[in-house]
Amino acid sequence: MADPMKIRAVAQADRIEVKILMAHEEESGFRKGADGALVPAHFISNVSVRLGGREVLRAQWGPAIAKNPFLQFAFRGGARGDELTVIWVDNRGDSRTDRIPVA
């Protein structure tokens, strides 16, 4: 199972700034392994961030996102204590969901 994400969501008035670190290999599909063969691509393909039932960011990613991906963005409408949910899905169908309260 994938490792937990590191999420920070900090509210200033009604603006919430989100920083996320995800644990993922992000194999490009172009790297050769120790045996000389190409290591198959393995990367996060979709990301969704929600505040309660409302989606505040959605992304599609290719294999060119750096290993252990970092994502930062900000949105309005929300308050300290609201629950932020981050979900990623990768190209093998593995996924990870983490939730934190907005600080």
Partner: protein, 155 residues
């Protein structure tokens, strides 16, 4: 890579994914969070990727700011910040000219979310990085060059 993904989803990966969405599963199925634009991500040039994304007419805009380092210490992770000040920006795409596949990421900004994102991308070699903002049916572009250097003791 798309075939791997298709297989996994066909093989039941999708169920696990939906379960991960918990209480929102039904809603998730309705809002297609699992869309993945194969054709765009498989395009080998920025021009081809933009064509697939529907961005046929693209104009430069100073209102779309792309902040990157001029020189990257390593191509394995290059920080990129894209921010659109164009009202009504709903999407930003990040592309790398000289990567094997040009499109790196597409971000959707729902109402209430600032059209700005900071992330880290892989770069195969020295290249231009391109951000494209979708505003209604129009597309705006910003381009920066990043030098990817050889590091350390070599070898």
């Amino acid at each position: 890579m798309d075939s791997i993904r298709r297989e996994m989803i066909r093989a039941g990966g999708l169920l696990g994914v939906l379960a991960a969405f918990g209480a929102d599963a039904a809603e998730t199925a309705a809002t297609p969070a699992l869309e993945w634009n194969h054709a765009a991500f498989e395009a080998k040039t920025v021009a081809d990727a933009l064509k697939v994304l529907g961005a046929v007419v693209v104009q430069d805009s100073a209102e779309l700011q792309l902040t990157v380092p001029e020189i990257a210490e390593d191509g394995a992770a290059v920080p990129v910040v894209a921010r659109s000040q164009l009202d009504g920006t709903r999407q930003i795409h990040l592309l790398v000219d000289r990567n094997p596949f040009s499109l790196a990421a597409s971000f959707d900004f729902p109402e209430g979310t600032e059209a700005a994102v900071s992330t880290r991308i892989k770069m195969n070699e020295t290249s231009d990085v391109v951000a494209v903002a979708a505003v209604g049916g129009r597309f705006y572009l910003a381009r920066r060059s990043i030098k990817v250097t050889i590091g350390g003791c070599g070898g």
